[in-house]
């Protein structure tokens, strides 16, 4: 387990460090958070996933600027929550802590993300030394892993043939709409044929 410590900045905020790497800006965490919020597109959905709690300042600013959003917070380090509750916000609804990818894939949140195609946001500095795990969580929550896309298509009634699955598993890269379209075009199922036109339309938008 990585070492989580906290240092107090000039404004009296406790800033989390993981293996001596700050999980948000040490001197101006709120300014960093405001800038991050301004650069994101929150017009996609009223329900979102925020991947990485870090110091929690970006969550605080996000709630102030977009109070209508229902935010599911996902973390993998238990130590961050108590400090967040003390200094930023005592109540935190919709919080989940997953120490592994497997625990995410078994969760209700993953099912919800699949059913509603929830958008996933993150401020990269909050990932700290757990970048690999968070990246893996992001891939699965956004449907860009082989497992997740297979689950998505199962929900649509689209069968993925074995050859396609094998070929997809060879690459570590996140899947794109092009691969999703290829899956649909190569599938023999009736649902695939019915949905083909939508994927072909989307693929044109990537050209």
């Amino acid at each position: 387990m990585n070492c989580i410590t906290f240092s107090e900045n000039a404004e009296g905020y406790l800033i989390p460090f993981e293996n001596n790497r700050a999980l948000c800006d040490f001197e101006n965490p709120l300014a960093e958070a405001e800038q991050w919020v301004q650069t994101q597109n929150f017009g996609i959905s009223n329900e979102i996933i925020l991947l990485g709690l870090g110091g929690g300042f970006h969550l605080q600013v996000l709630k102030q600027i977009h109070p209508h959003l229902k935010i599911h917070v996902v973390e993998c380090r238990d130590q961050l929550l108590p400090i967040f509750k003390n200094q930023v916000q005592s109540q935190l609804e919709n919080y989940s802590c997953f120490h592994s990818l497997e625990s995410l894939l078994e969760s209700e949140l993953f099912e919800k993300a699949l059913m509603k195609s929830l958008p996933v946001y993150f401020m990269k500095s909050t990932w700290g030394a757990e970048e690999d795990l968070f990246y893996s969580l992001w891939k699965n929550l956004t449907g860009r892993s082989v497992y997740a896309i297979a689950r998505h298509f199962a929900n649509l009634g689209v069968e993925i043939d074995e050859g396609t699955l094998t070929s997809l598993k060879k690459s570590e890269k996140p899947l794109t709409i092009r691969e999703a379209t290829d899956i649909v075009l190569q599938s023999e199922s009736e649902q695939a044929k019915e949905n083909r036109g939508y994927f072909e339309t989307l693929r044109e938008l990537t050209r």
Binding site: Q40, N41, G43, I44, A113, S117, L118, P119, V120, Y121, W138, L141, T142, G143, R144, A148, I149, H152, L175, T176, I177, A180, L185, K193, N195, R196, G197, Y198, F199, E200, T201, L202, E204, L205, T206, R207
Partner: protein
């Protein structure tokens, strides 16, 4: 009867299609016409008042983002698109007209439940509609030398079997009180230099009793205000620009959507055709437009490439004096002698547009050296029209669908 038109190109193309929508309304006067257009062009609704009963918006921006940006779920776009098409298919359309003619809209047209589809559509993995020789000609040659002389609006009209109709406008009892200048286009290589426009505006102000205004969209204010004084700026939205054009004696412009808007209102247009502008295919659809095109070996250049020259040769060759002289001719109450003007400016090709009863839209070349070439273009156009009409008659009613080898991708656009 319910008709859906799909038009997902750019603003200028939508404006160019208005005569076709007017023609569609004339063809089916009792029908309900709906249009599927890009959400970002919702400001054109006023132009279609009385013609289009309902607009449906395609959120191209967000759908495009969803295909690549990291926060989107991979299937978000699919669900949005399905939801849109489910809403569209609440209506049972008699006809779907594809005004856009690319793969994107072919797929969309295939997803609409309709009795009949006019234009390209996709079904079961194949593209259909190319058995119409006019559609095939449009697909293969629009934007290329083979289709020179065919105006986009008319060619699309022939492909979709709609006769373009001019917008009914009130007879003007007096000349307009403005000269409008539209300096900026969507592509810097089509722009004449702002310094030259500045000199033009100053001189026109001193030499005509009309008010000279520089037209721009809100996002263009910063650039324009560096060159033109505030008193000359008219920064506005599309509807305000349309209002102004109705009171304008002359519009001086590059190849822009404002040019096409002016054509709808029968405003006289002086077009400065530079860079990749194609006056013989997307010139003003008007009886009152003159185009000045500098004679350069490199032009018209390809749309999608940067200027290949060390300097902007075509722009350099177009002098303020020539544009000023042309502007005065257009503002004059006398019948201008364009032949003489062309002789005085051998560095330019001078074209005058006209919409004729049988031939349709055409250009008259005023420059002696190019007259033969343009007459050949006209003759070739006549032959192609006759041949394609003959072929079209012979395939009508034959249920003979062909797979196409090539269809424009979704970036293909007229203007």
């Amino acid at each position: 009867m319910k008709i859906l038109g799909i038009s997902l190109l750019r603003l200028g193309d939508l404006i160019l299609q208005r005569p076709l929508i007017e023609g569609l309304r004339k063809k089916h006067p009792q029908s309900e016409i709906h249009m599927l257009i890009n959400k970002q062009f919702s400001q054109v609704e006023f132009l279609f008042a009385g013609l289009v009963d309902k607009f449906i918006y395609f959120d191209r921006d967000n759908l495009q983002k969803s295909c690549g940006e990291k926060e989107y779920n991979i299937l978000w776009g699919f669900h949005q698109l399905k939801s849109l098409m489910d809403d569209v298919n609440q209506t049972r359309y008699d006809f779907v007209y594809n005004f856009t003619h690319n793969r994107l809209t072919a797929h969309l047209a295939g997803l609409v439940h309709a009795q009949e589809r006019i234009g390209i559509y996709s079904k079961d993995g194949n593209f259909h509609g190319l058995n119409n020789p006019w559609i095939a000609f449009f697909n293969n040659f629009f934007g290329k030398p083979e289709a020179t002389g065919f105006h986009y609006t008319e060619l699309l009209g022939r492909a979709l079997e709609i006769q373009p109709q001019q917008m009914p406008f009130p007879v003007k009892t007096s000349r307009g009180q403005y000269v409008l200048v539209q300096p900026l286009t969507s592509d810097s290589k089509k722009n004449w230099s702002l310094e030259k426009y500045q000199a033009l505006v100053k001189t026109l102000e001193s030499e005509t009793p009309l008010q000279v205004l520089v037209l721009g969209a809100p996002f263009e204010r910063e650039i324009l205000s560096k060159t033109f004084p505030e008193k000359n700026l008219f920064i506005c939205d599309l509807q305000a620009a349309a209002s102004k054009l109705r009171e304008t004696a002359l519009l001086i412009t590059g190849d822009t959507s404002i040019k096409h808007l002016a054509a709808l209102y029968d405003t006289p247009i002086l077009e400065l055709s530079l860079g990749s502008s194609q006056p013989l295919q997307v010139g003003a659809y008007s009886n009152h437009a003159v185009t000045l095109q500098p004679k350069v070996q490199c032009g018209p250049c390809p749309h999608s490439q940067k200027c290949s020259q060390a300097t902007h040769v075509c722009g350099d060759r177009l002098s303020v004096g020539a544009v000023l002289q042309a502007a005065h001719k257009m503002l004059s109450v006398d019948h201008p002698d364009w032949n003489r003007f062309a002789q005085q400016h051998p560095e330019l090709i001078v074209l005058k547009t006209e919409i004729r009863h049988v031939m349709g839209w055409t250009v008259q070349c005023q420059s002696l050296a190019q007259k033969d070439y343009f007459e050949q273009v006209l003759q070739k156009k006549t032959m192609i029209v006759d041949e394609l009409n003959r072929r079209h008659q012979s395939v009508k009613g034959v249920n003979n669908e062909q797979r196409t080898r090539k269809l424009p991708d979704s970036r293909a656009e007229a203007s």
